[in-house]
Each structure stands twice: as C-alpha cells, then as structure tokens.
C-alpha cells in the first residue's frame, strides 16, 4: 500500500459500519441451529412438565415428574453415580494427563512416538473402546486384566459384574481413552512457559519440585481450566461407554443420567419423565459451565 492512499483508507475505516457484512450471512446457520437445537431444547423444557408417552395427547402435570424422580431409586442412583463418575474422571484423567504431559515434555528421545500412542485412543469411537475394555475386564481368571494380575499373583476380579467395582471400572476405561486429550492440552500449556523463567529460577537455586510449584503450575492455569471444563461436562453426559459395557448394570450400579433418560424414553415410552431427567442433566451442565465462565472472567480481570 502506498503512503498516499493511507488517509483515505483511514477515513473509510472510521465508518466501517457501512462495510460490515449483512445479517443474511448468519441466516442459514441460524435457521439450522434453531431447528436442531433451539426449538427442540425449548420444547424439551415444556415436555418435562407433561406426561407425554410418545403417542396421543399430552397433559401438563406440573412438578409430578420431578416428584416421581425423588421416589425413583434408579433415577436417584443415577444422579449419585453420575456425580461420582464425574468427580473420579475429573481427578484421575487430569492427574494422569498432567503426569503424561510432564513426562513427554521432557527432552526424551521417544517423545513424539509416546505422544502419538497416548493420544491415539481419543480418535477412536467410545463404543469400540468400551467393547475392547469389556474383554480387558473379562471375569475369567486367565483373560484380560485378570491374566496380568495372575502373573503377579493377585486374585481375579469381576470388574464389570461386581456392583461395588463396576462404576470404577467404567472410570478406568474412560480415563484410558481420554487421558491423552488432557495430556495434549497440558502440553500446549507447558510449551507456553518461557524457558527463561526456568533458567532464572534454577539460577536462584530452586529445586525441581519448587520450579513446578512456583513457575510451571501457575502458568498452566488456562490449560487446567479447559481440561476441568471438558472432563466435567464429558463425565456428566457419559453414555456410550456405559451403554456398551454394562447397560447400566449390574442392577443400577452404573446407571447414569444419560442411560436412565434413554431407557425411560425408548424402553418404557415415558417421554415426559425422560425429558425431566434430561432437564436435571442440563441444569448440572449449565451450573458447571457458569461456574467455569465466572472463574474465567474473574481471572481475566485479575490479569
């Protein structure tokens, strides 16, 4: 751009409102979004207060669906399970992901290969991972994980059949699949920590642990926030792995909000009740999202 044209472009830029694209650019996207997400979600909130069974008329029943939930062992159990699964996934997946990230971030020769290995399960369908782990969790003494335990002399477990163990077995397969996802987000954070800061702290005589605590960790905050949000929402909505591995059993031991709302709708035909369960799930997800958003905002202000 030559110098002589600059003043005129500046003048144009000042009235850039005239150069803004027309709202029609957003119209096709808005139409599809409204049809697939907005309208059904609003209708879903309405359905949650009805007794619709999939056929015939629906009538409003007020809070009856939510009152029924309070007396429904399966639904209440699924809320507890969903919260337990979510907390376990958030803690273990991010803990493992952080350790893997720190490991492959060091100058080891196999770092590229290791990144690819740890990340690979992320791109595979969760249903297929669940079927693979169903074999790993085979109760037979010589098969899968039990075969490995036998090598070191430990007793076999009925990983998915034992009601007190099944939930944690599900957490194990989810962590195996998604730890690599947390790892790459932490890695992106680690790569943003300036080397000079490490050097300066080393010159000041800081130990490895001190360097992590006072230099690396505070700068990992954005990556941690993203990871916490992703793993929390993923845990709350968990369906595929449970549906494929245990179907919610044994008994109601691994039932989650998503498996319950699926069964209520497509097995029992209780569409109104199912949507009420979905609304509870949506409220959990919204609460977590708003807390995260609030936290992000307050940190931006602090910076």
């Amino acid at each position: 751009m030559s110098v002589s044209t600059q003043p005129s472009t500046r003048r144009r830029k000042r009235r850039s409102g005239a150069l803004s694209p027309p709202w029609l650019f957003a119209a096709p996207a808005l139409l599809v979004y409204a049809a697939v997400v907005l309208y059904p979600s609003i209708a879903g909130v309405v359905y949650a207060f009805t007794d619709w069974s999939g056929i015939g008329d629906m009538s409003f029943v007020g809070l009856a669906n939510f009152q029924a939930m309070l007396g429904d062992e399966q639904a209440l159990g699924s809320i507890v399970n969903t919260l337990l699964i979510t907390v376990a996934i958030v803690v273990v997946q991010n803990g493992v992901g952080l350790l893997l990230a720190l490991g492959v971030h060091a100058r080891i020769k196999s770092q590229t290969l290791l990144r690819v290995i740890f990340f690979a399960p992320v791109v595979v369908s969760p249903v297929m991972v669940a079927f693979l782990w169903k074999y790993v969790y085979n109760p037979a003494p010589g098969a899968g994980l039990n075969g490995l335990l036998a090598v070191v002399g430990l007793p076999s477990q009925d990983w998915l059949g034992d009601p007190s163990l099944a939930l944690w077995s599900i957490v194990g397969m989810v962590v195996w699949q998604n730890a690599g996802y947390s790892m790459v987000i932490f890695l992106a954070g680690l790569e943003g920590v300036p080397a000079e800061l490490h050097e300066a702290s080393m010159i000041d005589g800081a130990s490895t642990v001190q360097r992590f605590r006072f230099v690396t960790w505070p700068l990992l905050a954005p990556a941690l926030t993203i990871n916490l949000m992703l793993s929390t929402i993923g845990g709350l909505k968990l369906f595929d792995q449970v549906f494929a591995a245990t179907g919610g059993g044994p008994g109601y031991a691994t039932e989650t909000l998503s498996t319950v709302l699926y069964k209520q709708a497509f097995v029992f035909g209780k569409f109104g009740y199912s949507t009420a369960v979905a609304l509870v799930l949506a409220l959990f997800v919204a609460a977590v999202s708003f807390i995260q958003l609030y936290y992000l905002r307050s940190r931006e202000v602090a910076q």
Partner: protein
C-alpha cells in the same frame, strides 16, 4: 525441564515413560492378538502371541458387521456435514465477528448457548420433528442434525479467529468494488485456513464416532454408521472374541490410519482449538 542435557535423570525418565506406554498399550495388544486367533487358541491361551496367526476373522467380520456399507454411510454423512458446517459456520461467524450492533452480539451469545446445552434436553422433541419430516433412517436427517448440533462450536471457533484478523483485507477489496460476498469468499475465507483445519478435525472426529443419535435415527434402517453397525455386530457375536475383535480392528482402522498420517495436525487441532 526441556533445556536440560540428556543425562542420567532424563534416561531414567525415558525408561519409566516407555514402561508406562507398554502398559498403556496392553488393551491394544489384546485386541490385535485375539483378532488373529481362532476360538480354540483363545480358550487355550488368551494372552499369548497367536501361533499360528489366522486371518479368517477379518473376512468374516467384514461381512457380518456390514462394514463396507457402514463405512460408505459414515463417509457420506461426515463429509457432507463438514462441508455444511464450514460453509454455514464461516459465513455466520463473519457477520457475528464484524457486526458492531446489538443484533450481532445477541446472536453470538445465542450461538454460544448451544455449546452449553446438552443435546439430550432436545432429544425427544427433535426425534419427533425428524420423524414427522420423514427423515428417520436417512443420510439427510443425520447431516442436518450434525450441522445444527456442531454449529455453535464451529461458529465460536471461526468468530474468535476472524475477530483477530485485520479488517483491512476485506475493506480493501470492497473499496476496489467487490461486494460482501466476493470479499468474503475470495479474500477472507482463504485467510481462515488454519482455523478451518481445526474445525475440520474436531468435527470430523466427533461426527465419525458419534453413537447415541445415529443409534436412534439409523438403527435397523440399513443406513447405519460404523459405530452403530459395530454395536449391533458385537451384540450378535458377543462370545466370539476373535471375530468381535477383528470387527473392532476393521471399524477403527480408517480413523486410526488418518490420525497416524496427520498426527501432528490432529494433536494441534485438539490442543489449540479450544482456546479459541
């Protein structure tokens, strides 16, 4: 840690990490070795190497799980949805990023709401709508679903990227007499390549692997995607691990191969996309 020389501690860490990776790969070892065994070999020694390996499971699984047609269904649904998402998402984001009006801001917030809303809330009303429109069991139904459900995230990524671009590019083109449409398609869109790559990768992995909705919309229709076909196939042959695992290997192979070829871009897409 990165600036340290390769010394004793780093070597020790390398050994530890490799041991962890070997343990991590145990399920994959089981997957591959069992897919190469017949039922007799599996019963006899489930965890040993297959001796001799048999490949018969693969042919049987390919036809029993109808993997040929399923791969075609998945490919069609994923590809068309991605084209629609990139076209609709980038156009919408261009308006949302550049409009300095209340309407623009309001619409942007409305789209962001879709990232937070779990699709289960609208699941039943949408199922009813799709049924009424006769789109159950069709590619079109799935494509419209994925376009709608992934638009919020797509719009979010594009809007953040476009906001960081200088306005001058498009303004210059418009001063030269180009309309908004030409300025966007000829000047702005090509500049969006990095974020288009991210949008492509994240949406492709999600759509290819999605299970819940295709199970509802496509189950039993003959237009099943790979995860739905594999689900039905495993349910039918659940006790024959060799056959089931051959089906899992074949079902997962396309996306794993694409990942291995493009690993640098895929990992980058996953680690950067969410920062906006």
């Amino acid at each position: 840690m990165t600036h340290l020389r390769y010394g004793g501690r780093t070597f020790l860490l390398e050994v530890v990490m490799i041991v962890v990776a070997v343990a991590f790969l145990f399920p994959v070892y089981a997957l591959i070795t069992l897919s190469l065994k017949d039922p007799g070999q599996i019963a006899e020694s489930p965890l040993s190497l297959p001796a001799p390996p048999t490949t018969g499971n693969f042919g049987a699984a390919w036809s029993a799980a109808a993997l040929g047609p399923s791969l075609a269904n998945s490919a069609i649904i994923t590809t068309v949805s991605l084209v629609a998402l990139i076209a609709l998402g980038s156009f919408a984001a261009y308006f949302l990023a550049r409009a300095q009006t209340r309407l623009g801001y309001g619409l942007y917030v409305l789209f962001l709401l879709g990232i937070v809303l779990p699709f289960q809330l609208g699941m039943i009303p949408l199922y009813r709508l799709v049924t009424d429109l006769g789109l159950i069991g069709t590619h079109a139904g799935m494509i419209i679903f994925y376009t709608g459900i992934q638009l919020p995230f797509t719009v979010f990524l594009y809007t953040g990227f476009i906001r960081a671009l200088p306005r001058e590019y498009a303004s210059a083109a418009q001063i030269d007499g180009a309309g908004h449409l030409t300025a966007f398609t000829k000047v702005v869109f090509p500049l969006l390549r990095p974020i288009t790559g991210t949008v492509l990768i994240l949406n492709a992995v999600f759509i290819w692997n999605d299970f819940f909705t295709p199970l509802l919309y496509l189950g039993g229709s003959g237009y099943e995607t790979v995860p739905v076909s594999v689900f039905a196939f495993v349910g039918q042959y659940v006790s024959d691990y060799g056959l089931v695992f051959a089906g899992l290997v074949l079902g997962a192979l396309p996306i794993v191969l694409i990942f291995l070829v493009l690993q640098r871009y895929v990992i980058k897409g996953f680690s950067s996309g969410l920062k906006g």
